[in-house]
């Protein structure tokens, strides 16, 4: 930016002040070869008026000896104005000017003196030095202003950054609180499941067993007592069961669909992290070949759940030494993700039952791994939430390829 200013220099404006028109003219003549713009004033008062209307003077050549207001008084008035304080003044004085008077001139703010009648060469070089100096000063000032602006920008950016950090911190704290609440409610759930259900069950089992063992030996009072216990504890159990169901309902409502832009290869890699140990244990070669630049619109948690469920299955149904490969390709507006294993494969009947929720049940794996059969239901649910489809290609003995689609970005 400084270069640009250097290449296009500001015009050098010089104010000439002398009560004698001839002197003004001879100064102009002496300086005219240079690229200066001249303004003339024949009195201190006129000089001040000019300085009020015209800005950016680089230099003032000021005659000392003028009627009404001399050069010193004029200089004093000029320098009373903040805007004019930086303009250098060269006093033009008579040849026989004494040193005490010159000192007075410096006090008034003069930067130099030129004696009359002046030597044109000296005038030119002095004017050139101060004009140059003034221009450089101006340049510096402009750069300083720019720096200040940049600094202000930085401060503003910094402030915005701090605000963003604060916002994120608050968001994280809120999330943390939600998670803690969730944890608490899970703890409560466990406590309900274990303690609150076991207590009535204990009483229920003991009394119902007593009642059914040998009813004839019991007195009517005992039968009444036992059946009352059974009735009370059954009601307690029902209450607890309703609480558990309410809790579970609330939890599932919390699972909202929050799609975001995700780098597929990275998302897949993160999902595979915790499964690598499983694969290693079965000496299964687990590889992620998803193209690095592919981006999808997906709920990151759901995507993770989909990938982990499908890869866990692939590992489960692949014998030791086999392989599980992940890849993806674009199909119109969707990314199609493949999970290909060299496992035991499936019959047509198994395939048709795979995603039907009529009978969520699980086959044991090649190392007799067990599952609930609910994983695939969740997976097809999550894929459907993304507007995608899930499909399977498999035959017994040839391995299985599961394909699912989610929206691609770009």
């Amino acid at each position: 930016m400084a270069d640009k200013i250097n290449k296009v220099p500001m015009p050098v404006k010089i104010l000439l002040v002398d009560d004698n028109d001839n002197n003004l003219l001879s100064m102009e003549v002496a300086l005219e070869k240079e690229d200066y713009i001249f303004f003339r004033a024949t009195s201190g008062r006129e000089a001040l008026r000019l300085l009020l209307h015209e800005e950016d003077f680089s230099l003032i050549l000021l005659d000392v000896k003028m009627p009404i207001m001399d050069g010193y008084e004029t200089a004093e008035l000029i320098y009373q104005r903040d805007k004019l304080k930086q303009i250098p003044i060269i006093f033009i004085t008579a040849h026989d000017y004494e040193e005490a008077a010159m000192f007075k001139g410096y006090q008034a703010g003069a930067v130099d003196f030129i004696r009359k009648p002046f030597n044109a060469e000296i005038l030119r070089s002095k004017v050139a030095v101060f004009a140059d100096l003034y221009q450089k000063n101006q340049l510096l000032r402009k750069q300083e202003e720019k720096l200040q602006a940049i600094n202000a920008d930085l401060l503003q950016l910094n402030k915005e950054l701090e605000q963003r950090v604060l916002d994120r911190t608050i968001a994280l704290e809120n999330l943390n609180q939600e998670l803690q609440a969730l944890n608490l409610s899970k703890d409560k759930f466990l406590s309900v499941m274990s303690h609150d259900l076991r207590n009535p069950l204990t009483a229920l089992l003991a009394s119902s067993r007593k009642l059914s063992e040998d009813p004839e030996s019991l007195s009517p009072g005992q039968v009444r007592q036992l059946s009352q216990i059974i009735h009370r504890t059954s009601n307690k159990l029902l209450e607890q069961l309703n609480e558990v169901i309410d809790w579970a309902k609330k939890q599932s409502q919390k699972t909202r669909f929050n799609p975001a832009k995700v780098r597929l290869a990275e998302g897949v890699e993160e999902s595979l992290e915790i499964l690598r140990a499983n694969a290693q244990q079965k000496k299964i070669n687990l590889q992620n070949h998803v193209p690095k630049d592919m981006e999808v619109m997906a709920d990151p948690l759901m995507l993770r759940s989909i990938v982990q469920n499908l890869v866990t299955n692939a590992i489960k149904y692949t014998p030791e030494g086999g392989s599980v490969l992940l890849n993806a390709k674009r199909e119109a507006q969707m990314a199609c993700i493949f999970i290909e294993d060299s496992g035991v494969g499936m019959t047509a009947e198994m395939k048709s039952q795979l995603f039907s929720n009529a009978s969520p049940r699980s086959l044991s794996g090649t190392n007799n791994e067990q599952g609930s059969g609910l994983g695939l239901l969740l997976v097809s649910d999550f894929v459907a939430q993304h507007g995608g489809k899930i499909d399977v290609e498999s035959a017994p003995g040839t391995g299985t390829t599961i394909k699912f689609t989610i929206p691609v970005v770009g």
Binding site: A203, L205, K236
Partner: protein, 121 residues
């Protein structure tokens, strides 16, 4: 004379069915649904065995058990702790530990066997 068993549980249904079934077996039963007066109850009733739930409203059965085992007046009283959540067999034999554990829900036969074992000891 029948042997005395003190039962401590905050669930009144459990107290009711246990005292009914154990009384039928010939034991002399007293129940309490809180642990606050346990030492007075022991002093007063002089039981041969204490059956106690781990989770008592506001109190921890394991702490009460430790107090009983650390008190010279009561430390020889056998204690069977009943747990609603887990089977803390691992802590058996430690100082202040109960003499036996049982987790809910249990079969009465199990309880009878454990009671007999403690009373025979």
């Amino acid at each position: 004379m029948s042997e005395k068993i003190l039962i401590l549980d905050d669930d009144n249904d459990i107290l009711e069915i246990l005292s009914m079934l154990l009384a039928e077996h010939g034991y002399d039963i007293r129940t309490s649904n809180h642990g606050e007066t346990i030492f007075e109850d022991i002093q007063d009733f002089q039981p041969a065995l204490l059956i106690m739930d781990i989770m008592l409203a506001g109190l921890d059965g394991r702490e009460i058990c430790k107090d009983i085992k650390n008190d010279p007046l009561t430390h020889s009283l056998p204690v069977i702790l009943i747990s609603g959540t887990h089977d803390p067999v691992g802590s058996l034999g430690l100082p202040g530990a109960p003499d036996d554990f049982l987790s809910k829900p249990f079969e009465m036969d199990q309880l009878h066997a454990k009671i007999a074992k403690q009373l025979a000891a």
